[in-house]
């Protein structure tokens, strides 16, 4: 299962990076969103999967799954939400001011 | 034990209904008819499976889950609203009715006003 999830992570990463490499701002943002999905799964897989029960002590089990990655992912999810919210608004403000969502038109130059 | 089997049975029925609804989503001719499948049979499917779960826990652990009941209520309350919202949105965004449609009482009120 872990290996399969890691391969899934690879697929998500590939798709996300393909999007990130595109010229359209929204595609890039979408790509970053998928990237974060991928890495959350990866962290989970790195903690080992299904080797125990839900990390609630009331469940009275012998072993619990690794709770630490879960806590880390939770933090990461919230942070990536914050960043996504920011860049989305940034994208639309940039579109308002620059009248383009094409990164090709946002090159600018160091010597302008 | 009977209770548990009954619960599981409800779940199974629910799952079969879910698949049928999904087939409906593929098969039916336009978004309006598809939404019927989504708002009705699909909703019933989920209600059945939730009920099955509820009964299962009741039977096996003597556990009455308020959260499940709340979930059932919520789905029950909102499913028709979703159907209402989607079909309205579809019509207002000019999604055509299927060719087999016979009448369209909204057309004159909505489209004519829009043209003005």
């Amino acid at each position: 299962m872990e290996s399969l999830i890691i391969i899934l992570v690879g697929v998500l990463t590939t798709v996300a990076i393909y999007l990130v490499l595109s010229k359209n701002v929204v595609r890039v943002i979408l790509g970053t969103a998928i990237l974060s999905h991928a890495v959350h799964l990866l962290i989970l897989a790195m903690g080992g999967l299904k080797q125990g029960t839900v990390p609630l002590l009331g469940e009275e089990a012998e072993i619990y799954v690794d709770a630490l990655p879960q806590a880390l992912i939770l933090t990461a999810i919230v942070i990536s939400f914050a960043v996504t919210a920011f860049i989305l608004v940034l994208a639309y403000r940039a579109y308002q001011e620059l009248e383009t969502d094409n990164l090709g038109a946002m090159r600018g130059s160091d010597d302008e | 034990m009977i209770g548990e089997y009954f619960g599981v049975f409800l779940i199974l029925i629910g799952s079969i209904m879910a698949v049928i609804s999904a087939i409906g989503i593929l098969r039916l001719p336009d978004v309006y008819t598809r939404s019927h499948a989504a708002t009705k049979s699909s909703t019933l499917a989920v209600l059945l499976s939730l009920l099955g779960t509820f009964i299962y826990f009741w039977a096996s652990e003597n556990f009455i889950s308020v959260r499940l009941l709340l979930g059932i209520t919520f789905v029950f309350l909102t499913a028709p609203v979703s159907g209402h919202l989607i079909t309205r949105a579809a019509y207002r965004s000019n999604v055509k009715l299927a060719d087999s449609s016979t009448e369209d009482a909204l057309e004159e009120v909505l489209r004519n006003k829009k043209d003005v």
């Binding site: 990130v20 701002v25 890039v28 943002i29 970053t32 990237l35 974060s36 890495v39 990866l42 962290i43 897989a45 790195m46 903690g47 630490l68 990655p69 880390l72 933090t75 990461a76 942070i79 990536s80 914050a82 960043v83 920011f86 860049i87 940034l90 994208a91 403000r93 940039a94 001011e97 620059l98 990164l103 946002m106 600018g108 160091d110 010597d111 302008e112 | -």
Partner: protein, 494 residues
């Protein structure tokens, strides 16, 4: 209990949050935030002395002993950087007090700067890798906000790139953390270091260390500096100065920490790669610095050069080299802040960022001119200013270790620094004065005061190196003896 250790991060945050409630009072906000950073600097000085006296300090948050909880660890290296960054932030804030528009001041400029400083200080102090990620994010989010504050077209355009690239670099960070956790089962830096030392740095661990290298190189602008010139040259002056002084340094710090504490067992792979990257960075930065006529871009590429320079020290990784890098790190924070503040002032005065748009500023603004002159010499590593000692130590270490290519690149890059800034000085300060005495924009009173403080600092650090040497030597010693750090964290429980 060393609760005081959390203050360099906590104090700016609390003050920053409180300032939210004082939003409309721009000047009061400024004074309070300056005071906060000055106090932070004072605390750092105290910490610095305590570290000398009692050895490495640590604070286990919530009382959870490492490696289970998060902790702050203060050794000379981190505290020196905290101190410098706090001072530089205070100076930049006092510049903002005078120069920033009312509009920005009431748009949460000061709180955001304080959050930035908090993120920076936290990154220096933390002893936990995941917490480092979180501190980075505090810093980055603040930098995003600061970068866009003002909302000019250019800012928005560059911000999109900056934010996107940093999102990807944060992603790499998480990926690296995931791999590390999967392999070592811990997040505590010292614990990870101990575990790596225990099994030896397997090829897999080396591979993982290179993912970290990608992350921190992106932050530091080591070879992967594409994002830097654009974003450092678009926001308002103070923001640029803070970026130029602080942001890349955090990446540099992290590179030093990670590759001296945890992944130092395979230097023939990791440190060689770092060396190659540093060399290429020096070349790229040098070329960039002379390629353009926009003084903001020139300043930004100078940031790149400095990064390459410091990382030469890590690539060599002898005590002398590391000491040199630390000196250079401190120097560069001060001098880069100075450079950006001066460049910003020039742009404000002349209304243009092109060299062609300004001439003869020396006549009307001699103090500005002399400050720039000293900043130029300092950045070029001309003695006895602050850049000199780092240059000497790194070069000397490069010779001792036989890294002649890096030596040549490092020294030649100073010529490029000098030339690039000399062009600015020659074209902007000298020459016929375009604007007559009557028409010149008055230099608002006090604008130069913060710059003069930095000028004084760069001279003072250069002449008073000996005063720092105790701390720098200790910092380098700790970096090169990971055991000290590991013992302080995992040894006797306080």
């Amino acid at each position: 209990m060393n609760n005081i250790l959390v203050l360099p991060m906590l104090l700016p945050i609390i003050v920053g949050v409180l300032l939210i409630f004082l939003r409309t009072y721009g000047r009061i906000q400024a004074w309070i935030s300056i005071a906060a950073m000055v106090v932070t600097a004072g605390i750092s000085i105290y910490l610095l002395h305590t570290v000398q006296a009692d050895g490495i300090l640590r604070l286990d948050f919530g009382g959870w002993e490492p490696p289970f909880g998060i902790l702050f660890v203060a050794d000379s290296f981190s505290v020196l950087l905290v101190l410098t960054s706090s001072i530089v932030t205070a100076v930049c804030l006092s510049y903002a007090l005078i120069s920033t528009s009312k509009e920005l001041q009431t748009m949460y400029f000061y709180p955001t700067v304080l959050f930035l400083a908090a993120g920076v200080n936290g990154s220096f102090l933390t002893g936990d890798l995941f917490n480092l990620f979180v501190c980075f994010e505090v810093m980055l989010l603040s930098s995003y906000v600061l970068l866009t504050l003002g909302n000019s077209k250019r800012q928005l355009r560059e911000a999109i790139k900056y934010v996107s690239i940093n999102i990807v670099s944060s992603w790499f960070f998480l990926v690296a953390l995931a791999f590390l956790y999967g392999t070592l089962g811990t997040l505590n830096m010292a614990h990870a270091a101990e575990r790596v030392a225990e099994v030896g740095q397997t090829p897999l661990l080396t591979t993982i260390s290179l993912v970290f290298l990608v992350v921190f190189s992106l932050k530091a602008g080591l070879l992967l500096y594409f994002w830097l010139p654009g974003s450092y040259s678009s926001p308002p002056i103070v923001t640029s100065a803070l970026f130029g002084a602080l942001l890349t340094k955090v990446g540099v710090y992290a590179l030093f920490r990670i590759f001296s504490l945890i992944f130092y067992h395979q230097p023939e792979i990791t440190h060689t790669i770092i060396g190659i990257m540093a060399g290429l960075t020096l070349i790229g930065g040098s070329l960039g610095a002379i390629a353009f006529n926009d003084i903001r871009s020139i300043a930004a590429y100078n940031v790149v050069i400095a990064v390459g320079f410091m990382l030469v020290g890590l690539a060599i990784a002898t005590p002398e080299a590391i000491e040199g890098s630390i000196y250079y790190l401190i120097h560069d924070m001060v001098a880069k802040a100075l450079l950006f503040l001066l460049v910003g002032t020039m742009i404000t005065l002349s209304g243009s960022s092109k060299m062609a748009g300004m001439s003869g500023l020396m006549k009307n603004y001699p103090l500005l001119g002399w400050s720039f002159f000293i900043a130029m010499l300092s950045l070029a590593g001309i003695p006895p200013l602050s850049g000199f000692i780092g240059k000497v130590l790194i070069s000397s270490a490069a010779i001792d270790s036989g890294s002649y290519v890096l030596l040549a690149l490092a020294l030649l890059s100073s010529i490029f620094v000098l030339y690039s800034l000399l062009r600015v000085f020659k074209n902007c300060f000298w020459g016929e004065t375009i604007v007559s005495k009557e028409e010149q924009l008055p230099l608002r009173r006090g604008v130069l005061l913060p710059c003069l403080v930095l000028v004084f600092l760069t001279i003072g650090i250069g002449l008073g190196v000996e005063g720092l040497s105790l701390y720098v030597t200790d910092a380098a010693k700790t970096l090169l003896n990971p055991g000290t750090y590991i013992n302080a964290v995992l040894g006797i429980i306080q």
